[in-house]
């Protein structure tokens, strides 16, 4: 199999701050890759570079055969970035549902506005994914009438309705009350089992251990370790990585 995402020698600076340092890795189709690490290790920034919410300072991002080198501007490049965004769906920590339209309108907004899809077709796809996340009965509800877990599941359905090639999850359960985390992780497990390609920045180690095909550990902007979970969680090669996992297992 050939990769669907390839990050090559990616660097990112915020002003003079060097937050991503020469990171390279591939993601294969249908793979689930979890990115773990301390806060401030650059894992969210790395994820946001993939769909150009952050512009990389150096290196190349490639998604589904579309390769965009950093620092190139102009119409052709904007079109490439746009096409990469169409191929990636993103789920945010803070859900970011649109508060003014209903759930179904949230879900079909981008297919209709961006892709120019006929409304009826968008509604059909949207309803399919709302059913998948178990919220079809909230179809006509407004987002602020939903719980955090429900909001995040709608956000997942909204991203899926664009039918992306890769799903990016940026700490999808970090803003949730503990009792609501499970319902979101369950939806993500279901997607993983159906072969969705997923890149997940997370602090949920049990999810990473159970669902991921590969786990990436980042520290100080560098990719320190990239290993299958059974290796990562038992015999990580790098001592920094082992120390982090030790701390996570025994908080305090």
């Amino acid at each position: 199999m050939t990769h669907i995402v390839r990050i090559s020698h990616l660097d990112k600076y915020f002003g003079r701050l060097h937050v991503i340092k020469d990171v390279s890795f591939d993601v294969q189709p249908q793979e689930v890759v979890c990115i773990i690490g301390r806060s401030g290790s650059g894992k969210s920034t790395l994820l946001r570079c993939i769909n150009f919410l952050e512009e990389p300072s150096a290196g190349t991002v490639e998604v589904d055969g579309l390769s965009v080198p950093a620092g190139v501007r102009g119409k052709a490049n904007n079109q490439l970035v746009h096409n990469i965004r169409l191929r990636t769906g993103m789920v945010f920590q803070e859900f970011n549902l649109f508060p003014h339209p209903s759930v179904i309108e949230n879900v079909i907004e981008a297919p209709v506005t961006v892709k120019g899809m006929p409304r009826a077709q968008a509604v059909a796809i949207g309803e399919k994914f709302l059913t998948k996340v178990g919220l079809i009965h909230k179809r006509d509800e407004y987002p602020n009438r939903l719980s955090g877990g429900q909001k995040q599941r709608v956000a997942i359905a909204r991203a899926l309705t664009m039918e992306p090639k890769v799903m990016l999850f940026d700490e999808p359960t970090s803003a949730l009350d503990p009792e609501l985390i499970g319902e979101v992780l369950d939806v993500m497990k279901k997607l993983a089992s159906e072969g969705t390609t997923m890149l997940v920045v997370t602090h949920e180690m049990s999810f990473a251990r159970e669902v991921a095909d590969r786990v990436i550990y980042m520290e100080d902007g560098q990719l320190i370790e990239d290993a299958p979970p059974e290796v990562m969680f038992t015999s990580a090669a790098d001592p920094r990585c082992r120390q982090f996992l030790e701390r996570v297992r025994q908080p305090g």
Partner: protein, 284 residues
């Protein structure tokens, strides 16, 4: 103590929370009543000042202002015909001002230098000169260049340009009040700038901007009086001057005009607070 016993014996006993809430409501009602009564007293005093009566309070003698009520009766209908002009100018001007303010706000948020410059130039020029001067400019100065605007349109143009510059701040704040996450999710879904603005940012920003725009409309009702200086817009103040000056009854005429402005302001302020309440409720 007796109250407590009664409360304990009464079948559906009121909870402590209910009692505290009732106490709170009582003090709220007392405040509202107190304010209402004081307003009444102030109104009566104001009326007394203009009553024309000779008042004796103990050793003190007051001579109050004597008004020509015959004149007021004769001319109030004439002045009142200006109400629709006043509302009409204000309404037209707030409409154009809103459009200008929105454009100016988008311009001030633009990262494209010429657009940013045009927007800030406009705002600076308008805010740096008096509204009265702007009205005179469009009405008196432009004809020198061969541009003859009808009085009404000169007034509407000046008020729109002026209010547009001030109101741009409302729309800018509205746009900035929409969280960064909203932009990010729109961008991540593949929306371009205009799609994001139209579908995501502006619907939320405009909601935020509606109540302050109402306030601006109320201010505009009064600033529209400046247009009377052109002599061709027959709104309230112009009519008051027409009635007052030839009859040497400026005091009466201006008081009548003032009452009309005040009542208009009260009516629209009441609308405004209903609107604010409604918008705030929609948030939950």
């Amino acid at each position: 103590m007796a109250n407590q016993a009664a409360a304990l014996n009464a079948p559906p006993a009121k909870s402590q929370a209910e009692l505290i809430y009732e106490q709170f409501q009582r003090s709220q009602r007392q405040f509202t009543l107190g304010v209402g009564a004081s307003w009444g007293v102030l109104l009566v005093l104001l009326a007394l000042v203009f009553s024309g009566l000779h008042l004796t309070v103990g050793p003190l003698n007051f001579t109050t202002i004597h008004l020509d009520f015959q004149f007021i009766r004769d001319w109030t209908p004439f002045i009142s015909q200006g109400i629709w002009q006043t509302i009409g100018i204000s309404f037209l001007s707030i409409l154009f001002a809103t459009l200008l303010a929105l454009l100016a706000a988008l311009g001030r948020l633009s990262r494209f230098p010429p657009i940013y410059a045009v927007s800030t130039f406009y705002i600076s020029l308008i805010r740096g000169t008096p509204l009265f001067l702007q009205i005179l400019f469009f009405f008196l100065a432009l004809p020198q260049l061969g541009i003859d605007l009808p009085g009404l349109w000169a007034g509407v143009l000046a008020l729109s340009l002026n209010y547009g510059a001030y109101m741009s701040e409302i729309f800018r704040a509205g746009i900035l009040s929409v969280s960064k996450g909203q932009r990010e999710s729109a961008v991540a879904l593949g929306m371009n700038y205009s799609q994001m603005m139209r579908r995501v940012i502006l619907p939320q920003a405009l909601r935020f901007a509606i109540p302050p725009t109402g306030n601006e409309f109320i201010a505009m009702l009064k600033d529209s009086a400046l247009v009377s200086a052109t002599g061709f817009v027959h709104e309230i103040l112009w009519r008051a001057q027409q009635a007052g000056q030839p009859n040497f009854r400026n005091l009466e005429a201006l008081i009548v005009a003032a009452v009309f402005y005040w009542v208009l302001t009260l009516i629209f302020s009441a609308f405004q607070s209903r609107l604010e309440f409604f918008m705030a409720r929609g948030d939950r």
